[in-house]
Subunit: 336 residues, 2 copies
């Protein structure tokens, strides 16, 4: 198995990416990594982390980088030699099985769409995230690949999410929920109301609308929404979790008694932090493209990069795309 890693993607690339790759090489002895990026920029870090001559690693040199503020479609069209485009091309040419990037999300979506193409019957890819809930994690999609969606796109997301949940949660009939502002089918916006009708007629375990306040009790195994709402939701809960930790620390350092209490519970806070730890989940899967693509947070740490590579490896083994293709064909919902 060979995984192409975008060496220039992320706020602290290439340093953080190279360090994450070094960790992954140690933990995944069966995996080959093609590190794509500017050789000169990466070399000092390859040496620093002792992988310059690692037999599992190949460096693929590229000159260009997509910057975080580049408009994605234009960047991919004009920068044909960018690290993300070259990494996606390796997959499309059969020279790699998966691509991992912590760079510009829109660019990764566009590059994989153009280079790797879509799975048969899928019109748009969706970013699927595993999120924590009190009764076990759930899958949210789309978390930001498609900002303006049509009902049929959401229906396709539901099918892809179902295929993913079957593998990730080992459940035969994952419960599919539609994110909306009320449980009744009449509640929602034009997009969700139309999607509700389509999902009701499909061979899915569709449980209807789910609301934000029940999400984190695992109201459903798969929660479907458009990429604008999903991205706002993902980032807001991330922000809320960080603010909660800030308030907790503030409250606990107010007096010596509390400080003593806090010391007794140090390990508990660590556990708590791990529950919502996006890094541990190893990035988001881009579902629907013809190949495996894992997208990391721009601020990914080496651990996050390492876990993203692990997720890519698992996804290749899973054979999730075969499942998605079959499920889409069965549902007969291609928007054409």
């Amino acid at each position: 198995m060979r995984i192409a890693v975008d060496g220039m993607g992320g706020d602290n690339a290439p340093a953080v990416v190279v360090e994450g790759v070094a960790e992954a090489l140690k933990r995944l002895p069966g995996v080959q990594i093609a590190l794509v990026g500017n050789e000169k920029a990466m070399l000092p870090f390859l040496k620093k982390f002792h992988i310059a001559k690692n037999p599992q690693l190949t460096v693929v040199h590229t000159e260009q980088v997509v910057n975080m503020d580049d408009p994605s479609v234009a960047a991919i069209r004009s920068k044909k030699d960018s690290s993300i485009t070259v990494a996606a091309t390796l997959v499309s040419e059969g020279k790699a099985d998966a691509v991992v990037s912590a760079g510009h999300t829109g660019a990764a979506v566009t590059a994989t769409k153009i280079r790797m193409k879509m799975l048969p019957g899928v019109d748009r890819p969706a970013i699927a995230i595993i999120m924590p809930a009190t009764q076990g994690p759930f899958i949210l999609l789309d978390a930001g690949a498609n900002i303006d969606c049509k009902p049929m796109h959401l229906a396709q997301f539901a099918v892809m999410g179902e295929a993913f949940a079957r593998l990730a949660f080992s459940t035969l009939r994952p419960r599919i929920g539609l994110l909306s502002v009320g449980e009744e089918d009449v509640k929602g916006n034009d997009l969700t109301k139309e999607t509700f009708k389509i999902l009701s007629d499909m061979p899915l375990n569709f449980i209807g609308n789910v609301e934000g306040n029940t999400l984190f009790n695992k109201a459903a195994d798969v929660v479907v929404c458009d990429g604008f709402v999903g991205n706002v939701l993902l980032k807001a809960t991330e922000g809320m979790a960080r603010a909660s930790m800030y308030w907790l620390k503030e409250a606990l350092s107010k007096n010596p008694i509390r400080k003593t209490g806090a010391i007794l519970m140090k390990s508990a806070f660590r556990e708590l932090k791990e529950i919502g730890d996006a890094e541990e989940y190893g990035g988001a899967r881009l579902l629907g493209v013809n190949g495996i693509c894992v997208i990391g947070h721009g601020s990914s740490s080496p651990r996050a990069i390492r876990n993203a590579i692990r997720v890519a490896e698992e996804s290749v083994k899973f054979g999730i795309n075969k499942n998605i293709t079959e499920a889409i064909a069965e549902a007969g919902i291609s928007a054409g």
Copy 2:
């Protein structure tokens, strides 16, 4: 000052509403309350909480109630004698200064729109919520009054939010942010991209797009979005906060050392809970209608009802509608 309270609104009405009214009467000696609802259903509770003969209280009998699963517009049209419609009518006839309801949100929005009408130049009302952030609270609107919005509606929400922030936070130039999925003006959906252009040309302290992950650091004083996104966001952060408390309790009860630590910090946890305590904020303001309307959560406790009445009283004193009308006229952005 006289406040009309929807006695039948909320999951545990009229019991909880009457108890909240009793508490409010004690704390707000200058306020008259018109309790609107079914006299027979409310009487036992009026007696129980010793306010059956309170001189500050008038009971206005109505036969009908809007149920939580009624479609709002149809319910308001067919149930002309419902408690929320009668309460809104009291305001429109000058017999009350404000209306408070913890019932069906859509029905409260529709009833006040129809009975009280809109402020000059405002096309749609918006639900404004005060939310906690690490550097002090911010205002989010619309939190659910308008599910499908046009750019001009969002521009009006920005102006109303600014007027509210001036009064609530005592700042002359509140920072107005547009909720989106990236900071750059090219990031967002069709609605936000068009709204971005309008807001940029308006006499506001518009700071551009804000994202979910910076919201809770008080990225802006006022955050504008459509009612679908705002409602999802509000409920999701509520759900996330509840889940966090669950995980905290779980982690703290795992062994005796942690339990001891937890006891030492009991007061800290109480403080922490209060930060995100929606009940303390006293419900949401419906801005844009010609009169004061405060909407409580369906699951409001007596304390939440009491605080909602306090907020209504403050809003009347504030004279917020005069501010909104002037600001809208100045901005010249009526959608017609």
